[in-house]
Subunit: 336 residues, 2 copies
């Protein structure tokens, strides 16, 4: 059997990490193409862009159709956007050329609640071409949904699930720090939220929908609170951006899933420069109860790259169509 | 679709918990038969034995053939022994009647390293009859093998895995306390170990083999240390059996998997009456590193019942043959 042929679709920070990891550590995969529209990247060798210190003979191209047709890949890893409507045409292009898709697009982790029509189109196109489409990553896709679901395998019954992810943002990339509003005044933060310039973490809704789906819980609704600023009590110089006292050091987001009038799923995501400790915490109120902590919290970029690469063979051996992590890992057995 | 028809094969403590749970909480299953050789149970109603406070119309029978033939079950849950050679004939009887098997038999969690010939026979018989055989439970089958494997989905690379399970045995049943030597003198404990009267926890070998298999690590060998006594520093009255100072309060067992001359998998199991805190701890030395703690440790009996019941539908929808948890949950994607 030959190596699995991979196209890197989106040569941002995660795309470059995926490329570097495959080239350095994963002989079972071969990168055959790279796509990005950024003029500073087009025409350059992916190995050089990914800090491999050598060329790998794959030039970044701004022409998806040509790359997908000429390089005959098994799978494209799309790492371009958090939003379904933006990733949709990219996915459809891959499917048109019979190429499987795995994507970090957060909304794709459970696309049905974002846009049923686009989901249906993707599913039909994938089935017609015999390929699979999966949205995944560390979050959504693993820590706040799939891992708690996996743990419910131990439970005779499950009453409620609570997940908290707290990230010390000083350990993360500058774009991540900007994404969570670091350095803004509280007013500017609120304005940026209103204007959609700061989205914070995208995916709490997807995580709740994934959990409810696998546990066969019928959701009354998903409540999502607006991201709240985490305000610096004194000046902070731990990140890429200095934060004066009273300015924003990060954010906290909460969402919950209501079932039969009760809050059954509670998710909290917090990322800032003032976290004394960071962790992932899962509490399952059930029989037996489960209280789990991962400390420090799993590194987001590394974990995303791990999930994406490790799941490629599983995606390729699954039944065609639009998949979620529940289909992929057979988590349907988890019952309330 | 009708309910899944289940036979309870072995009406011990776990068998009764499974029966009670199914009757009280799981409408998708129906208990159609019960098998046990114990004269005190034969002829009695399973509902009464399982403390349901009512009869369920299922009498315990000492005739496996008759029950398996007459009740036409989909699956038998065998909870009779820790050892492969003892469960083997029971499994073969189920398979003969076209009945799927899920069993708590610890050695069945990875039977190939115990007895290849018996494993081959079970696999062939199951395939010929189109049924599945799975050995699982909380340990082996989940906490010390499957859960760490599942977590490696996050890892770009994995260098080593360390798992520790520490149980406060005062919270467990009397048979469990006896199984770990509570109340014996140190000499009697050592003699009981030599004579095979105390086996302690069975399954560390299976857990190591499961991890190595899924990660495609080629084991040089599995090293298993003899169970060591945990000695009471002063008199203990926390359990079913009083323990004088200097006597045995429980045991500790260690095993490791050696790959390329290095210890890559280290497992420690400790259960005694003198644990200040009990927990499950998983440490993955990899990228990213993962340090996880479940505190208190997951309750063994409840967790086993959960795993067994929750996995029934997954077993029934898997390909026929002798399965391990790796096949069942598609954990093969986990790569080193």
């Amino acid at each position: 059997m030959g190596r699995i042929r991979v196209v890197i679709y989106g040569v941002g920070a995660i795309g470059r990490m995926v490329a570097r990891t495959i080239c350095e550590k994963r002989e079972e995969f071969e990168i055959v193409g790279a796509i990005d529209l950024d003029e500073r990247k087009v025409g350059r060798d992916l190995g050089v862009l990914a800090d491999l210190g050598r060329e790998i003979g794959v030039k970044v191209s701004a022409e998806p159709d040509r790359v997908l047709k000429e390089t005959t890949p098994d799978i494209a890893i799309i790492m371009t956007t958090s939003f379904l409507n933006k990733v949709f045409p990219q996915i459809m292009t891959c499917v048109k050329f019979g190429v499987n898709v795995i994507s970090t697009c957060e909304e794709l982790a459970y696309p049905y609640i974002v846009n049923k029509e686009l989901s249906r189109k993707m599913d039909e196109a994938a089935k017609a071409k015999g390929v699979r489409i999966l949205g995944t990553g560390i979050n959504p896709g693993f820590l706040m949904d799939v891992l708690p679901l996996f743990l419910t395998t131990l439970c005779i019954d499950v009453n409620a699930i609570e997940v908290t992810r707290v990230i010390d943002a000083s350990k993360r990339r500058e774009p991540f720090q900007r994404k969570i509003g670091v350095g803004l005044s509280v007013d500017d933060f609120r304005r940026s939220i209103e204007q959609g310039k700061i989205t914070g973490h995208v995916g709490l809704v997807q995580s709740i929908a994934l959990i409810a789906d696998a546990l066969q819980w019928s959701l009354d609704k998903i409540e999502v609170k607006k991201p709240a600023p985490v305000v610096a009590p004194s000046r902070i110089d731990r990140g890429y951006i200095p934060v004066p006292a009273g300015f924003v050091a990060g954010l906290e987001q909460k969402a919950c899933g209501i079932v039969g009038g009760e809050t059954k799923i509670s998710l909290t995501f917090r990322a800032s420069l003032i976290e004394d400790e960071d962790y992932d915490r899962i509490r399952i109120d059930g029989t037996p109860p489960i209280n789990l902590e991962i400390k420090p919290c799993v590194h987001g970029d590394q974990g995303t790259v791990g999930v994406i690469i490790n799941l490629i063979p599983t995606v390729l051996s699954s039944k065609p169509g639009l998949l979620t992590m529940i289909d992929l890992l057979r988590l349907h057995h988890c019952k309330a």
